[in-house]
């Protein structure tokens, strides 16, 4: 039986945040008498993650995804509730716990800006107490997986964003952690660089059975890496389960564009019992429930004079976008 590697129970986090009224008067008032209020950004959440799982955290900006990730890796103290990661209380930041995890943030970097990435790798290797031979072996293996070679010897400031992100990954993985926390790792990368990064993460997960917790606003990252998603809405979990089920729930129908041989035939189809989205001359778009798609298509092909047809999935961004604004999903 696969063990739970992350166990979160009734976790909450509050921050004291100060607010300021606009204008000069507001600024002066803010300077002399700062008004702060405690805001609960994470509200009583509970979940478990099994070893080797890749879990995507979905939510709008400010929903609390990054705060959850930072509490899981021990950067922020929880206000209430308990977290166990790999058997450790993360906020104690014990050496053995830190050797097991890594955090990669798409918008922040740890590489030494003026030096080639290889220097940062060897520095990290010494921090993780790896000898030179072992460090060299791991750098070689990871650089092959990430398909970087010459870039290792070029100063970081001269690398492209994609090359820099690959180097950041290598620096973060040199100690072979078994839990990866990734906060928008593909932020700002071009399509090819995003794809390569996803390919690498899939391969890393497969080869090492590492657990990956990921936040991303690029839906492709989520759909190609995560079987399970946790949706966060205003600090609370609105959905925790399989991505497939969520998609089915959010978009139960498929759109079918049918090109009829004549306009009359299209009108005939329009007046039948199907849900019509629109019709332009002999082209008609209808909506069919996913679970009755085969039988419906059979009926259409048997009863109408059809020239061509196209089955379209609704755009994933549009579907997932619904998650960001909805509070609850009962699957």
């Amino acid at each position: 039986m696969v063990q739970n590697i992350i166990d979160v129970r009734n976790l909450s986090k509050s921050f004291d945040i100060s607010s300021k009224e606009p204008g000069l008067k507001g600024t002066i008032k803010h300077f002399f008498r700062r008004q702060t209020k405690s805001i609960k950004v994470i509200k009583d959440i509970s979940f478990e993650i099994k070893e080797g799982e890749i879990v995507g955290f979905l939510g709008a900006n400010g929903a609390g995804k990054t705060t959850i990730l930072k509490m899981l890796c021990g950067l922020i103290y929880p206000s209430e509730g308990s977290i166990l990661v790999s058997g450790y209380l993360p906020y104690r930041r014990k050496e053995n716990f830190l050797k097991n995890i890594t955090l990669i943030m798409g918008q922040k970097q740890q590489l030494i800006w003026d030096l080639p990435p290889i220097e940062s790798f060897y520095l990290n290797a010494s921090i993780y107490d790896l000898d030179k031979f072992e460090a060299k072996k791991r750098i070689k293996k990871l650089s092959e997986m990430l398909e970087i070679d010459e870039e290792l010897f070029i100063p970081v400031r001269k690398l492209s964003l994609g090359q820099r992100m690959k180097s950041e990954l290598l620096a973060a993985l040199i100690h072979e952690p078994n839990i990866l926390f990734l906060d928008e790792p593909t932020l700002g990368l071009d399509i090819n660089a995003q794809r390569n990064l996803r390919k690498f993460l899939q391969k890393y997960n497969k080869e090492t059975n590492a657990t990956i917790c990921l936040t991303s606003h690029y839906m492709k990252d989520i759909t190609s890496l995560c079987k399970r998603v946790i949706c966060v809405h205003e600090g609370a979990i609105s959905y925790d389960g399989k991505l497939d089920l969520l998609l089915k729930k959010l978009s139960p129908v498929k759109e079918i564009l049918i090109v009829c041989r004549s306009e009359e035939e299209a009108i005939k189809l329009e007046n039948s019992c199907f849900t019509v989205k629109n019709r332009i001359k002999n082209e008609i778009t209808i909506k069919i429930e996913k679970n009755s798609i085969t039988s419906s298509l059979k009926t259409i092909l048997n009863n109408f004079d059809i020239e061509d047809l196209y089955i379209n999935e609704p755009p994933i961004d549009e579907v997932i976008g619904k998650v960001l604004i909805k509070k609850d999903y009962d699957i």
Partner: protein, 264 residues
């Protein structure tokens, strides 16, 4: 604590920060020239103070030069280690890159205090030592083992006090986010350390001994050099240094509980 690992990491810190700094040759050259000019300027200023009267606060010019030498060494240490690292704490906290430090299996205070060095500060340390040797000659100080040990102890204590003061202010960034001004105020107070404590009024002497212990940083080591020191003062400096180091450590660990990391 695994000492071997920490030595290995420090060797890497030295290597990477030297390599980073040497990327910018002109910057190093400018820093070196600044260090020389600053020392010449300070000695010139000191000589002006002593022009009318041969003594200030009971100290001769030759004796006051020892304070200048110790100040130059400490300023060199500040520029080599404290300035590049401890000002970086503010940046780490503002930008949230402290996250990377806290998630490394290494003491975070060690990491942020020693990761960088500024090689041009070495020249200032060397200039300070040369000036100190010159002072030893002109003040006809006899070198002995006890003298050398006491000098080393008091200067080490000065370094600890200076580091703790600076580190303490930098740590407050966790709550106040911007503390550049406080660091600048501290630096201005340190300039006072170039002059003998006795040259100030009684109330200022109390202020610079109790509230901001500048007196301990330069005057007591200088008194050791001149054979004017009293045992209780040396013991007091050791106690103050130990309390400062311990408090700055505790304060850092306490402050980390309030670290909320920068938003992404």
């Amino acid at each position: 604590m695994n000492l071997r690992k920490y030595l290995k990491v420090y060797k890497k810190f030295l290597h990477t920060s030297l390599a980073s700094e040497l990327e910018y040759k002109t910057n190093i050259l400018v820093d070196l020239i600044t260090a020389i000019l600053s020392l010449v300027g300070s000695i010139f200023l000191l000589s002006i103070f002593f022009q009318n009267n041969g003594f200030i606060g009971g100290w001769k010019f030759e004796q006051a030069l020892i304070i200048q030498a110790i100040y130059t060494i400490l300023n060199g240490i500040t520029n080599t280690w404290f300035n590049p690292n401890l000002t970086e704490i503010v940046k780490h906290i503002r930008e949230g890159t402290l996250d990377f430090v806290l998630l490394k299996p290494i003491d975070s205070q060690f990491f942020i205090s020693l990761k960088k060095i500024n090689p041009s500060g070495f020249l200032e340390i060397m200039l300070g030592f040369f000036l100190l040797l010159f002072c030893i000659r002109i003040n006809q100080i006899i070198l002995s083992l006890s003298f050398l040990s006491l000098s080393l102890i008091t200067i080490s204590c000065s370094i600890c006090i200076l580091y703790s003061l600076w580190f303490f202010i930098s740590t407050t960034t966790i709550w106040f986010v911007k503390t550049w001004n406080a660091i600048e105020v501290l630096r201005s107070f340190l300039y006072i350390g170039r002059f003998p404590l006795n040259s100030f009024s009684f109330s200022l002497r109390i202020f610079f001994s109790v509230f901001i212990p500048i007196a301990f940083i330069t005057t007591i080591p200088s008194e050791v050099f001149l054979g004017l020191s009293q045992l209780w003062k040396i013991l007091l400096e050791i106690i103050v240094a130990a309390v400062f180091i311990k408090t700055s450590r505790k304060f850092w660990l306490f402050a980390l509980k309030f670290y909320s990391s920068a938003s992404s």
